[in-house]
Symmetry: C2
Subunit: 86 residues, 2 copies
């Protein structure tokens, strides 16, 4: 299995780990995604060059914490967080 | 850096590697994505349990090979390929 395949598997596994807390598989609540980012992306939050973008993302997820978000839109948010460290 | 952060970085790096062949960063052509899948996801293609889904994805990418596709829609396609191995 290639590095790409392993990496995609890992992202899916982490998503499911947080989504499955409430027995769902394909979506999670925005509150769950917020927790995932706070815990699994702690280094990015610590090393960000754009703290205000992270704060905005986390606030949005907190404001709508009961709304559902699917895998791909979760990847969008995670990538937005990660890119603030580049 | 967490496994999630490293995995996301790897997916972004592979995307850019194929997208940058034509000096773009945020999009690639569907033909480039087809190449990426054929080369970087060869194990998934070999081990798929649903060959017809893979063939359909590859055919669609080939039919519209000059159309552009962004990072997130590329991740959708890659994940569709990967999930046929589950």
């Amino acid at each position: 299995m290639s590095k790409l395949e392993n990496s995609l598997r890992e992202v899916i596994a982490v998503f499911r780990q947080y989504a499955e807390k409430k027995c769902k598989k394909d979506t999670m609540s925005k509150g769950e995604l917020r927790q995932l980012i706070l815990i699994e992306m702690a280094d990015s939050i610590k090393n960000t060059k754009e703290k205000h973008i992270i704060q905005k993302i986390l606030k949005e997820l907190d404001d709508d914490r009961d709304d559902q978000i699917d895998f791909f839109h979760s990847v969008v948010k995670m990538t937005q967080v990660l890119k603030t460290t580049e």
